[in-house]
């Protein structure tokens, strides 16, 4: 067929309505590059495309664009799951850091409270011991430092329970130093009786527990020594209290 004979079939071809043999003829013309048919088919397809524009406008969902790009391996630079997860991770990290800090704070506070409780229990036990010595009928009392600016106080001596020292005007021991209590025997020997520290107001309470050798103890003394204590006094005693029982 000639191009002229196909003239009325180009639009039919463009719309898919051409029938044989015209459809095959047009295809053959196009395959061999027939310029007339190519121009006519362009025109017919142009008309067909215009018909396509008569469809009512509609909008696809926004995710369709992402689907299409993802299908060719292209990601979208938008705020999506990755950014959301990164934000959530950062938030979780901040929360973990915050709660870890709070946990440390609570742990430290609990440790301080436990230390305070332990110290109070020790103080109560010491006070109970002190009261026991004070209330015992066989306890004797010796004062020291009277009429002196410092230090001064009393020594309560019980044969079975031990010795209670209550002092005041004691200076704060320097760092690394502490007070050491001594029993001075009648033979002139100093026997270690324990270490103690004064309070910030200069007061101190110390207890030397256990049965006392009342017959051989002439006095008690207090010296300033290193915190670990020493076997024999290395400084001049700050307190010397002759025991009343020893003089009897």
């Amino acid at each position: 067929m000639t191009c002229a004979e196909l003239q009325d079939h180009y639009e039919l071809y463009a719309l898919g309505l051409a029938e044989e043999p015209e459809r095959g003829e047009i295809r053959a013309h196009l395959d061999r590059g027939c310029e007339v048919c190519m121009v006519e088919i362009k025109r017919a397809r142009e008309m067909a495309a215009l018909l396509g524009g008569s469809a009512a406008p509609a909008a696809p969902s926004p995710r369709l664009r992402r689907r299409i790009l993802a299908s060719v391996g292209a990601g979208e630079h938008s705020f999506g799951w990755a950014a959301f997860l990164a934000g959530a991770t950062a938030l979780a990290a901040c929360a973990a850091f915050y709660f870890a800090g709070r946990e440390r704070q609570y742990f430290d506070e609990a440790r301080v409270l436990r230390e305070q409780t332990r110290n109070q229990i020790i103080q109560i036990a010491r006070l109970n011991e002190a009261f026991a010595i004070l209330n015992s009928a066989d306890t004797t009392v010796t004062s020291f430092g009277e009429n002196q600016p410092k230090p001064k106080g009393r020594v309560f001596l019980n044969p079975s329970r031990g010795l209670l020292l209550i002092a005041s005007n004691l200076p704060q021991a320097p760092s690394g130093k502490a007070y050491e209590l001594w029993f001075l025997t009648k033979g002139g020997k100093a026997v270690r009786a324990g270490m103690f520290q004064s309070e910030s107001d200069g007061t101190a309470i110390d207890i030397a527990r256990g049965a006392m050798d009342m017959k051989n103890t002439a006095a008690v003394a207090v010296t300033m020594e290193v915190e670990a204590g020493v076997d024999a006094p290395t400084s001049t005693p700050m307190i010397v209290a002759p025991l009343a029982a020893a003089s009897q």
């Binding site: 898919g16 196009l30 362009k42 397809r45 215009l50 524009g53 406008p57 509609a58 299409i68 292209a74």
Partner: protein, 196 residues
């Protein structure tokens, strides 16, 4: 309103040559730009055919992937990828209808892949608003039967025999309506070409 999608694409078509070149360089973002220009138009066309939004989106995706995979067939200097894309979109949709309806494929629906070069330079005419208005007027001038056969052919891909069965009319009558409708449209386009 009838031709609004095409009118909206007038400005978009101006950069098609560069877009085609980028598609041929396999730049994925070029596919995104192509979608931004013709995505709504293709979706509207396909939805008009299949009348199901989910299926329409699947077919739009197929359409753009087909164009992506066959972009090398175009002359990057001349561009004109939009009309070809719309032809592919229409054929994807009609192919779906035929598969769903158990109908045989119409051989001509695959022509666009055999001769993509025939779409070159088409947008200069297809997107000219004056010509679009003329075609719109020509469609409006068609009789109800003529307009129906054109729509059945374009949006449903029916052959003339199938249209005759659908409409309960003799095949000869349907062929007359089709030829008359196409002649009127052609005349309108011809007049537009002269006036352009």
């Amino acid at each position: 309103m009838l031709l609004l999608p095409i009118l909206l694409a007038i400005r978009a078509a101006e950069g098609d040559a560069d877009l085609v070149a980028r598609l041929q360089r396999r730049e994925p973002q070029a596919l995104g730009d192509l979608y931004d220009r013709y995505g709504r138009l293709a979706y509207s066309l396909i939805l008009r055919v299949v009348r199901d939004t989910g299926i329409a989106e699947d077919l739009v995706q197929e359409t753009f992937l087909r164009v992506w995979n066959r972009a090398q067939a175009f002359d990057a200097q001349k561009g004109a990828i939009g009309p070809w894309l719309l032809a592919v979109a229409r054929n994807r949709a009609i192919d779906y209808l035929r598969s769903a309806g158990g109908r045989e494929r119409n051989a001509v629906e695959f022509e666009e892949t055999d001769h993509p070069a025939l779409y070159i330079d088409m947008e200069q005419g297809i997107l000219a608003s004056d010509k679009a208005r003329r075609v719109k007027r020509a469609v409006e001038k068609l009789s109800a039967q003529q307009r129906q056969v054109i729509e059945l052919a374009y949006f449903e891909g029916l052959s003339q025999t199938e249209m005759a069965e659908r409409m309960g009319q003799p095949l000869g009558t349907v062929k007359t309506w089709v030829r008359t409708a196409l002649k009127n449209l052609r005349d309108e386009l011809g007049a537009a070409a002269v006036s352009a």
